[in-house]
């Protein structure tokens, strides 16, 4: 019965999501598309940040590495991003492994600040090797055509990112019940106990960070293909790192749906607020965004997903 309900609900949502572009305008498509992309990035973050409990604030670096890898492959070597995105994932994943190694030694906020430094370093290196990366000038994608993942309208990007977001949810659902996923959650809850039952804490964290960075790198490719233009100082900005984490925490970290819920709330909120107030009182939209973020984090520590689920279950499952 319950399963049936869930299934019906998922199928209905899926149909709505897929059919939406037929009914709404290009701008809404574009905003939803960005929400899905951020949802995917937040879900990628969730692997290490939510399930792994390692609060990374350096994910913009993986985003940038992914974006740069596939873009350089496309512009200089004429390799389609459909292939390049896997290379992007691998490069970002490699960097993620490094961060994972660091996470062995750093805990909690230390790890967070360490990842900030890591992102800063990545930005500086992207700026420094200007012969390869274009330095501060960035790279403009001048190619075109669907074979290069470049479209003239927003609708293909919409379906691309929708697919990505759904794939992200399916992956997380599988992940949280996989042996490795359970191991990672165990490590988050209690490292000593996890070690006691024979989980290799070190390896688990490194692999978790690698998976997370791999997925973020793929997201980076999509971002670059959508924007057609990448630059280190904009891409590796702290704003992006914090936004990825904020979306997931607001939606509900450590759950398959948190990323999507958070992105569907925060991304349209910030873009619509900006459209509404940007021309009148610039900055007001950002204040409201900040207030919403603050209220959400304080009042709903489990994220919106946790709040809704708590309500549905009548508060039976109080505490941890």
């Amino acid at each position: 019965m319950r399963l049936m309900m869930k299934l019906t609900l998922s199928v209905a949502l899926l149909i709505v999501g897929a059919a939406l572009p037929l009914f709404v305008d290009e701008l809404t498509i574009s905003i939803l598309m960005q929400a899905y992309l951020w949802a995917f990035l937040a879900m990628s973050w969730d692997v290490i940040g939510g399930y792994g409990g390692q609060f990374s604030l350096g994910h913009a670096a993986f985003l940038a590495l992914g974006a740069y890898t596939s873009t350089i492959l496309l512009q200089s070597y004429n390799i389609s991003p459909w292939i390049g995105m896997w290379a992007a994932g691998l490069i970002a994943g490699g960097a993620g492994a490094l961060v994972g190694i660091a996470s062995l030694r750093l805990r909690g906020p230390f790890f967070a600040l360490g990842t900030i430094a890591f992102a800063e370093l990545v930005e500086l290196l992207l700026l420094y090797f200007k012969e390869i990366t274009g330095g501060p000038l960035g790279i403009l994608i001048t190619k075109s055509g669907p074979e290069n993942m470049l479209f003239n309208t927003q609708t293909p990007y919409y379906y691309l990112t929708l697919t990505l977001a759904i794939a992200g949810i399916l992956f997380l659902r599988w992940f949280e019940s996989s042996k490795f996923g359970i191991g990672l959650i165990a490590v988050r809850e209690d490292e000593e106990a996890a070690e006691g039952v024979g989980i290799n804490v070190y390896r688990t964290k490194v692999i978790g960070a690698t998976i997370s960075a791999f997925l973020t790198g793929i997201g980076g490719t999509i971002y670059a293909q959508w924007m057609h233009f990448i630059r280190p100082d904009i891409l590796v900005k702290l704003d992006y790192s914090t936004q990825i984490a904020a979306i997931d925490v607001v939606g509900g970290a450590g759950t398959p749906y948190g990323g999507l819920i958070g992105a569907l709330v925060l991304v349209p909120l910030s873009l619509y607020l900006n459209a509404l107030f940007g021309g009148m009182i610039a900055g007001l939209s950002v204040i409201l965004y900040g207030v919403v973020l603050l209220i959400m984090v304080v009042l709903a520590p489990g994220g919106i997903y946790g709040l809704v689920r708590g309500k549905l279950r009548g508060g039976r499952k109080g505490g941890k």
């Binding site: 609060f55 750093l106 909690g108 906020p109 430094a117 012969e131 900055g283 973020l293 603050l294 520590p301």
Partner: protein, 331 residues
């Protein structure tokens, strides 16, 4: 040989040669832009960057305190610095008082604001599971609110106030610096000593230390831990406000985003220094200043931060408790 390297560097494609300092210096000689400079300039830069490092230490002090006591990251730290700069601007231009008196005004005002922030953004989340990370996000919210409020209230136009300190210069043995920077450096050291003494000798200070070392034990012996946290956060923000005033005496442009120049450096200083150390902050600040100086002397301005972050990450991996911190307990 030199010319070959030179041409490759200017061409479309280059190898990793930029990373090897020796090669780079040779290239520098060929282009006439040698990064090597005469001896007098070395001393000058060493002094300049030591002073800068001292200021880094001061900007990081408040952050370090908050971090050490409640393991919370104050993401809005740079914005409190910015508010301090505006306090300096308004008090100096409206009341016509000396910027160093404005530092005291800023200390008090920002202290109150800090306590308010603590009640809104820190206390409700800090004790919950995952609370340390949640403080990152709540203070992020505070940060964007403060930045945008400043933008709306005071417009983006950069402000500055007249002060003779920044335009008066000292010269000792051919090494020059401005009075404002020298004073900022001295106040930086004085305030670090003062905070350390406060933590050792004053009752509240001792309680703060107790909470930072063992919150549960502190509660057992009857310390009101939430109140101590409130005081700590207020003090941390007050110190940031004071640092903002001092920075504004020699650094141009008081504007809504002015804090972002200094906050990343503060975070780096705090981790460099490590937990539970006040003197570590000033040493770490000066160390980073000197590292930046070395980076610019040996390499180039573009490279100096790469050097800082690379060393930083190395230290983080080799000594996660920071250079001067005590070893972390496994919680």
């Amino acid at each position: 040989m030199y010319f070959q390297l030179h041409r490759r560097r200017r061409g479309d494609f280059t190898s990793l040669i930029n990373f090897f300092p020796l090669l780079r210096i040779r290239i520098g000689k060929v282009t006439g832009g040698s990064p090597l400079i005469e001896l007098g300039a070395y001393t000058q830069l060493l002094v300049s960057y030591t002073i800068l490092g001292g200021v880094y230490g001061l900007t990081a002090l408040g952050l370090s305190l908050i971090w050490g006591v409640m393991k919370a990251v104050n993401w809005a730290h740079g914005d409190f610095l910015m508010l301090g700069m505006y306090v300096a601007f308004w008090t100096v231009t409206l009341l016509g008082i000396d910027p160093y008196i404005a530092a005291i005004v800023s200390f008090i005002l920002l202290g109150l604001l800090g306590m308010m922030t603590h009640i809104i953004a820190i206390e409700p989340v800090v004790e919950k599971p995952g609370g340390h990370e949640a403080t990152l996000l709540t203070t992020l919210g505070i940060s964007v609110i403060l930045e945008s409020l400043a933008l709306i209230l005071w417009s983006p136009s950069p402000r500055s106030y007249y002060n003779s300190y920044k335009n008066t210069f000292l010269e000792v043995l051919g090494v020059r610096t401005s009075v404002a920077e020298a004073i900022a450096f001295m106040i930086s050291i004085i305030s670090i000593v003062a905070v350390d003494q406060f933590l050792r000798r004053v009752r509240i200070g001792k309680a703060i230390r107790a909470v930072s070392q063992n919150p549960i034990g502190a509660r057992v012996v009857g310390i009101d831990v939430p109140r101590i946290r409130l005081m700590t956060f207020g003090l941390g923000v007050a110190l940031a406000g004071m640092a903002g005033v001092l920075v504004s005496t020699f650094y141009p442009n008081i504007r809504p985003l002015a804090g972002s120049v200094w906050d990343i450096a503060s975070y780096v200083v705090v981790i460099f220094a490590g937990l539970g150390t006040i003197y570590g902050v000033i040493f770490a600040g000066i160390l980073i200043g000197i590292l930046e100086g070395l980076g610019t002397i040996i390499f180039s301005n573009a490279f100096r931060q790469i050097l800082v972050y690379a060393v930083f990450l190395m230290i983080l991996l080799l000594r996660p408790q920071g250079l001067f911190g005590k070893a972390l307990r496994r919680v």
